[in-house]
C-alpha cells in the first residue's frame, strides 16, 4: 500500500490527518513511537480496511490484533456457528456464544476491545459467485480458512482484485504463512500450487487435530504481516514461513519464486481467462464430521 517515510512530524502533519483523535495518541502511543511507524503508520491503519475470511483458529487471533492496532474497518466472513469444540483454539468466542454465528461472536469481542473501529459482519458462505463483491471493499484479504477449495477461490479473487492475500494455515503441530499477490512481482497461491491436491491426499478430508496455540502463532503473524503491508514496513519479498512446534528450529523462512508467466490465474501469457475450472472451488470433502468423543477414546 503506501510507503511511509520515517520523518519527524510537525504540527502541520497533524493537521493533514485530522481524523486521528487526541485519545488515539494515548491508546496507540506504544506503537506510534516505533521507528518507521509513527503518525503516518497509525493514520494509515485507521484509513485501511481488511477482511478476514474465517473466524476460526487463525481468524480469531488475527482479528484480535488487527482490532487492537486500530485498523479502521474490519470485515469478518464466516457462515459457521460457534461450537464447544471450537473453544480449544478459537479464543474470541466463548461459552456464552456457542450456537451464535462466528462472525457475530467475533465482531462482538473485537468491538468490545476497540469500539472506535468499524466491523462488518458477513454470515454468507463465500462462493465463486459472490467473492468479488464481498471482498472488493477491502484493501487486504486474510485467508484464515480451513479448506483447499476456498483457498484457491481466495487466491484467484485476490488476483482479480489486485489485492494482497495474507495466507495462513495450521494443522497438528505445524503452521505455514505467506503473503501472495504482493510486491513487485509476487506469486499467487496458484503460482506455487497450480492444481489442488488430490482429494485422497493426507489429511484433507477428515478434520485433523490441531494445537490451539499453533493456530494462535500463525494467526497473530497474519495480523502482523497485514500491519506491515499497510504501514509500508513489508519488504514485499515472497517468503513462505514454515513452523513446526515440535522440531528445532521451530521456523524456516523459505525464499519463494516470483509470479509465473504461465500461471493460469496471475500469469501474463494470455491463457488466464476461462481456464480455471469451477471444480477447483467445489468442496470435495463434504464428509461427516468425526465423532471426537470416540476419537478421544481410541487414539493417542
Amino acid at each position: 500500500m503506501q510507503d511511509v517515510e520515517n520523518t519527524a512530524l510537525s504540527e502541520s502533519d497533524l493537521s493533514r490527518s485530522p481524523s486521528l483523535h487526541r485519545d488515539d495518541y494515548l491508546r496507540y502511543g506504544r506503537q506510534m513511537i516505533l521507528e518507521g511507524f509513527g503518525l503516518p503508520g497509525q493514520a494509515g491503519l485507521q484509513r485501511s480496511s481488511v477482511v478476514v475470511v474465517g473466524a476460526g483458529g487463525l481468524g480469531c487471533p488475527a482479528l484480535q490484533y488487527l482490532a487492537a492496532s486500530g485498523v479502521g474497518r474490519i470485515g469478518i466472513i464466516d457462515h459457521d456457528m460457534v461450537e464447544l469444540s471450537n473453544l480449544q483454539r478459537q479464543i474470541l468466542h466463548n461459552e456464552s456464544t456457542v450456537g451464535v454465528y462466528k462472525a457475530i461472536s467475533a465482531a462482538q469481542a473485537i468491538q468490545k476491545l476497540n469500539s472506535k473501529i468499524q466491523v462488518d459482519i458477513i454470515t454468507e458462505a463465500l462462493h465463486s459467485s459472490n467473492a468479488i463483491a464481498l471482498l472488493y471493499p477491502y484493501n487486504v484479504i486474510l485467508d484464515c480458512t480451513d479448506n483447499a477449495p476456498t483457498r484457491y477461490l481466495l487466491s484467484d479473487t485476490a488476483v482479480s482484485l489486485g489485492k494482497p492475500l495474507v495466507s495462513g494455515a495450521a494443522q497438528k503441530f505445524e503452521g505455514q504463512l505467506s503473503v501472495y499477490n504482493f510486491g513487485d512481482n509476487g506469486p499467487c497461491y496458484r503460482c506455487i500450487f497450480p492444481r489442488p491436491p488430490a482429494m485422497e491426499t493426507v489429511g484433507t478430508c477428515e478434520e485433523t487435530g490441531v494445537l490451539g496455540a499453533v493456530t494462535g502463532v500463525i494467526g497473530t503473524m497474519q495480523a502482523l504481516e497485514t500491519i506491515r503491508i499497510i504501514t509500508g514496513l513489508h519488504d514485499g519479498k515472497p517468503t513462505l514461513l514454515l513452523y513446526s512446534a515440535l522440531t528445532v528450529p521451530f521456523f524456516r523462512s523459505v525464499k519463494l519464486r516470483s509470479k509465473k508467466p504461465s500461471c493460469i490465474a496471475c500469469g501474463g501469457d494470455g491463457v488466464k481467462n476461462g481456464t480455471i475450472e469451477e471444480t477447483d472451488y467445489v468442496a470435495f470433502c463434504g464428509g461427516v464430521r468425526p465423532n471426537w468423543e470416540q476419537k478421544g477414546l481410541s487414539s493417542g
Binding site: G54, G56, G57, L58, G59, C144, T145, D146, N147, A148, R151, G168, A169, A170, Q171, K172, E174, G175, Q176, I192, F193, P194, R195, P196, P197, A198, E200, T201, V202, G203, T204, T208, V210, T215, L240, L242, S244, T247, R252, S253, V254, K255, L256, R257
Partner: protein
C-alpha cells in the same frame, strides 16, 4: 565426505512425513553419479553399467526416496517424474523453482525439505 557419494539432510513436513514412516528428518546418502533415467540401482545390478550417467539431481533424489524410504501410498508422493500437486520442494531454504527444480545438481550437505501445503485453520 567421499567424492563418490553425497550425504543430504532430508526433512519432511506438512503431513508428508506420514508416508515416510513418520520420521521428519533423516540423513540420506546417494551416489554422486546416477543413471541418466534416474532409475535407482538395486544392489544386485551394481555391476551392470547403465548406458548413461548423470550427476545426482533432485529428480533422482525423489526416485531414490520413493524406492528406499517411502513406506506408504507412493501415489501420494509422486506423479510421473515429479512430486504430486500440493507438495513443495525446498533446496537450502529456497523454492526449488528458483534452483532449476528436478535438474538441480545436488551438492554434499545440501538440505532438502519436502512439504505438503496445509489447508487447516
Amino acid at each position: 565426505m567421499s567424492s563418490d557419494t553425497l550425504t543430504l539432510k532430508v526433512e519432511f513436513g506438512g503431513g508428508l512425513e506420514l508416508l515416510f514412516s513418520n520420521k521428519r528428518i533423516r540423513d540420506v546418502t546417494i551416489p554422486a553419479f546416477v543413471p541418466g533415467d534416474s532409475s535407482v540401482p538395486s544392489p544386485e545390478s551394481e555391476s551392470i553399467q547403465p548406458t548413461s550417467l548423470k550427476q545426482a539431481d533432485v529428480t533422482f533424489l525423489l526416485h531414490y526416496l520413493r524406492e528406499k524410504h517411502l513406506t506408504d501410498r507412493p501415489e501420494l508422493f509422486m506423479e510421473k517424474d515429479t512430486v504430486r500437486p500440493g507438495i513443495l520442494v525446498l533446496i537450502n531454504d529456497t523454492d526449488w523453482e528458483l534452483e532449476g527444480e528436478g535438474d538441480y545438481v545436488l551438492k554434499d550437505k545440501d538440505e532438502i525439505v519436502l512439504i505438503s501445503t496445509l489447508h487447516g485453520g
